[in-house]
């Protein structure tokens, strides 16, 4: 039996030999190959699930941060009360020279007011 009689081209002969070699693989090797395939599929499944979870987090995290931010902003804005400012004295009042006569009159008025209060307390 010669190679030429069995098949035509070199390619066909080599292919046939390779197929035969694969068919004659020991059972342990075939099991290893099968295990590699199953491992790859199992790992791929786990990895895909992990990626999906991470992707979901990517979608939910910005939404969470946005809603929390908006809520905080609303709380701050609502609770914020503008403190009443002390009215600024008019410049004219500061520069104005109050006459001494008026001051004496004001002191008398204050004294009369105090005296009246005291009498009310005594009665």
């Amino acid at each position: 039996m010669t190679l030429q009689s069995k098949s035509g081209t070199v390619e066909q002969q080599i292919n046939a030999r390779l197929d035969q070699a694969n068919a004659a693989l020991p059972e342990s090797v075939k099991q290893d190959i099968g295990a590699a395939r199953l491992n790859a599929q199992a790992k791929a499944l786990a990895l895909t699930q992990k990626r999906t979870t991470v992707r979901n987090w990517h979608f939910t995290l910005p939404a969470t941060f946005t809603s929390v931010g908006v809520a905080l902003a609303v709380v701050v804005l609502v609770s914020y009360k503008q403190t009443p400012l002390i009215p600024v004295l008019p410049a004219e009042l500061l520069t104005l020279d109050v006459p001494l006569k008026d001051l004496a009159l004001l002191e008398d008025l204050e004294f009369a007011d105090w005296l009246a209060e005291q009498q009310e307390v005594l009665l």
Binding site: M1, R17, L18, N22, L25, G34, A36, R37, Q41, K43
Partner: protein, 189 residues
């Protein structure tokens, strides 16, 4: 109008596809790395990458994609080995004939076979040894083009070279294999 014809035996789901290519892919990896455990690792990694990244692609694209991943992983493996050899240069390779042992251990024990099967086994052995004598590129090219039946364009894409290079590698591979077979069996092919 462009009509794309698909072969009827093309698997439509990932399980069948992996089942169909696993042994050929293992053989290719084994021929490149010469170690059973490493070949299994490369096979598993390539399958994992295909399923995770390309399962959504049309089934007719899986084969070229898978072999491209496998060839890249094999290339990476060779690079890692080079780096390892550089880093641990004092650790001599104790068993330079490991490769031959690995190859021959999966061919079958010829001594226990009847005469007619002994001849076939010897021819098989010669063919595998012929392939082992080819350069990495020539062997890849031959296996993809001839054994896997990939087109020149797909093979070039997988190997990351031009179509002209694929044709050259293939021609040289066939030429070498022919001479190996002729020498071994003292015939003209």
């Amino acid at each position: 109008m462009l009509i794309v014809e698909h072969s009827t035996d093309e698997p439509q789901d990932m399980d069948s596809f992996l089942l169909q290519i696993e042994q050929k892919a293992y053989r290719m990896a084994l021929m490149s790395v010469n170690q059973h455990a490493d070949a299994i690792d490369l096979l598993q990694d390539s399958m994992l990458k295909l399923v995770v990244n390309y399962a959504h692609k049309p089934p007719q694209e899986w084969k070229p994609l898978f072999y491209r991943i496998l060839q890249n992983r094999i290339r990476d493996w060779h690079r890692q080995q080079k780096v390892k050899q550089l880093l641990f240069f004092w650790k001599a390779n104790n068993h330079p004939d490991d490769a031959t042992e690995e190859w021959s251990s999966y061919v079958g024990d010829a001594k226990e076979l009847p005469d007619n099967r002994l001849d076939a086994s010897q021819q098989q052995d010669t063919a595998l040894k012929g392939l082992a004598e080819l350069s990495e590129k020539q062997r890849q090219c031959f296996l993809l083009r001839s054994w896997e039946g990939m087109s020149v364009a797909d093979t070039a894409d997988i190997m990351g070279c031009s179509q002209g290079s694929v044709k050259t590698h293939y021609f040289r591979a066939v030429h070498k294999l022919r001479s190996v077979l002729e020498d071994a069996h003292d015939i003209t092919i």
